[in-house]
């Protein structure tokens, strides 16, 4: 009957606390945690690889076919760069998916419960995902855009096209801007994944905003197209000259990019609010 005697434990104040090994949660530690996940997931590297192949591959295909690009009064050096960067229109979908999956994948598998139980203040998890996503996509997309630029210009000039240099007006902005654009798109994907929690819902909204709505808008009568320059893809696309591909009124490159960043900030803010307020 000694078991009965033990059912009432002694005063806990006097008892020594059992040994623990865990340290405090810090933002840096949560970033390391998120990097551990992102690095170890196959989907990360598939998405990154596909995006790089799309950017360089489509750029090379365009530069290596058709009439060589000649710089003239109507055809600027930057315009030539934009045409060969068209792979971004497809790469953005893949990187958007990567961003969405970073959050929705945790809700789908249930890992979010373990993640948030380990970091119950929650917001550091969102910031950490943001940091590792930007930390991965910014350099990868920049390398891809630079590699695409040199591949495309080498192909063009070998076929008799005009030589385009990074120092030509607007060229550096477009190449670097391609990378900035893709990075912000992935951040928007991340925020959508955190807000909607389900991969399918995130993909639907993302595809609607970045694929369907801009296409449909292009066919609307001119009189009701006033909002078109402010659509995320149209506004943000100005930084790598995408507006030239479709024509119509457009914002300036940095103003447009600022609008895109505005969408990302608002969506991330909503995601933070929802993460903080709602049950996991």
């Amino acid at each position: 009957m000694s078991a009965v005697m033990q059912t009432r434990p002694g005063p806990t104040q006097g008892a020594p606390a059992p040994a623990t090994v865990a340290g405090p949660v810090t933002q840096v530690r949560v970033v390391r945690s998120e990097w551990t996940k992102l690095r170890a997931l196959r989907s990360t590297w598939w998405c990154a690889l596909i995006a790089v192949v799309l950017i360089i591959g489509l750029g090379a295909a365009i530069a290596g076919s058709g009439a060589p690009y000649k710089i003239s009064a109507g055809n600027s050096a930057a315009g030539g760069v934009t045409i060969s960067l068209v792979g971004i229109l497809f790469a953005q979908l893949v990187l958007g998916v990567l961003g969405i999956l970073l959050f929705s994948g945790e809700y789908a598998t249930g890992m979010i419960r373990a993640t948030l139980a380990a970091a119950p203040s929650r917001l550091p998890v969102l910031w950490a995902k943001l940091i590792v996503l930007v930390g991965l996509i910014l350099p990868v997309s920049l390398l891809a855009a630079v590699a695409e630029f040199f591949t495309a210009t080498a192909l063009e000039s070998s076929r008799g096209g005009s030589a385009i240099s990074l120092t030509d007006p607007g060229v550096l902005r477009e190449v670097a801007g391609a990378s900035l654009y893709l990075t912000v798109i992935a951040v928007i994907g991340l925020a959508l994944g955190a807000l909607l929690r389900r991969t399918a819902a995130g993909l639907s909204v993302f595809a609607a905003v970045f694929l369907v709505v801009p296409l449909v808008t292009a066919y609307l009568p001119q009189s009701i197209q006033g909002f078109a320059p402010y659509l995320p893809s149209n506004a943000g696309g100005t930084i790598w000259g995408a507006g030239k591909l479709f024509g119509g009124h457009q914002l300036g490159p940095w103003a447009g990019f600022a609008v895109l960043c505005g969408y990302a900030v608002v969506l991330t803010g909503l995601a933070a609010w929802r993460l903080q307020r709602r049950d996991a």
């Binding site: 090994v21 994948g105 419960r113």
Partner: protein
């Protein structure tokens, strides 16, 4: 220590947990019993700060858990539903959690060994059986060496070896002075593992007691005796506070007397016994009685 005070959780119109108050003390294994849908998992999710209470408070080791500086040293939790990423290996699942608390591969390898996952640590968790998934979840709960361990249905899907492992693990954690709070629908399992019980029905606290007290309330149970001499043994044991029930076979159900007394009496009278089994499954019956009452009470009270 877990202190729950006036805890209520509503999802729309449905009240999952209703004004729950109880304390889980360190140093012993406390079982959390209740029929499916009683609110056990919801309560555990609120302990971990995953669900926000509609009202009431939860304190883990005297603190509000989501505000703890070093959460993984305060609380380790295994939730009923799977909470691992199937695309990550067992080791990477654990490493990702360990990193948030500044822990590294050495600690991960320790809990992998502890959970007996050494051979599959590099395999993707998506391919794990339910039992291996449970071991991985337990390993995750123990990563930070938490003062309080909360496990939702840990023996679910485990083979007998795994059940034995959990039983010993829970007892050794309690012996180290940790708070161990474990839910199960297997009442017999609780009888072997837990010392204290918190019983829940329809989101309300039905009983907070020790296992002994709880089974003591049960009116049924008793000792099964198999003998070819049922009539003679029945006469031999007859006494005012002893009940002997014979269903016509060679089996007697005796209550009000210990197995030792029955065995000794039969041996003195030279009556052969083939079986002498105290039925501790009466925890099951006690549980059914207690929760039935609560369900009937609620059925009467609802509109």
């Amino acid at each position: 220590m877990i202190e729950i005070d006036g805890l209520t959780k509503r999802y729309g119109d449905k009240t999952a947990v209703d004004g729950l108050s109880f304390v889980v003390e360190p140093g012993v294994v406390t079982g959390f019993l209740g029929p499916n849908g009683a609110g056990k998992s919801t309560t555990m999710r609120m302990i971990a700060g995953l669900d926000r209470p509609t009202s009431g408070t939860v304190r883990v080791n005297g603190k509000h858990y989501p505000g703890a500086a070093a959460p993984m040293s305060e609380l380790g939790i295994l939730l009923d539903a799977r909470s691992v990423h199937p695309g990550l290996s067992a080791r990477n699942n654990l490493l990702a959690l360990a990193r948030t608390a500044g822990l590294g591969r050495r600690r991960v390898d320790e809990v992998i060994e502890l959970a007996g996952l050494g051979e599959v640590a590099g395999a993707r968790a998506g391919g794990f059986s339910l039992g291996m998934g449970q071991r991985l979840g337990v390993a995750a709960a123990l990563l930070g060496g938490p003062q309080t361990v909360v496990l939702d249905e840990p023996v679910n899907g485990l083979d007998p070896d795994g059940v034995r492992w959990i039983r010993l693990l829970l007892k050794s954690l309690a012996a180290e002075g940790r708070t161990v709070f474990v839910s199960s629908h297997l009442m017999s399992e609780m009888a072997q593992t837990a010392t204290r019980l918190v019983v829940l029905g329809r989101g309300k606290l039905i009983s907070q007691t020790s296992v002994e007290e709880f089974t003591g309330h049960a009116t049924t149970g008793g000792i099964l005796v198999r003998t070819p001499e049922t009539a003679r043994l029945g006469q031999l044991l007859a006494a005012p506070d002893v009940t002997v029930i014979n269903d016509g076979t060679d089996l007697l159900r005796v209550s009000g007397i210990t197995a030792e007394q029955i065995g000794t009496a039969a041996w003195r009278a030279r009556l052969p016994l083939y079986e002498l089994t105290p039925t501790h499954a009466s925890l099951e019956e006690a549980f059914m009685q207690v929760t039935q009452d609560s369900i009937e009470y609620h059925a009467g009270a609802t509109r």
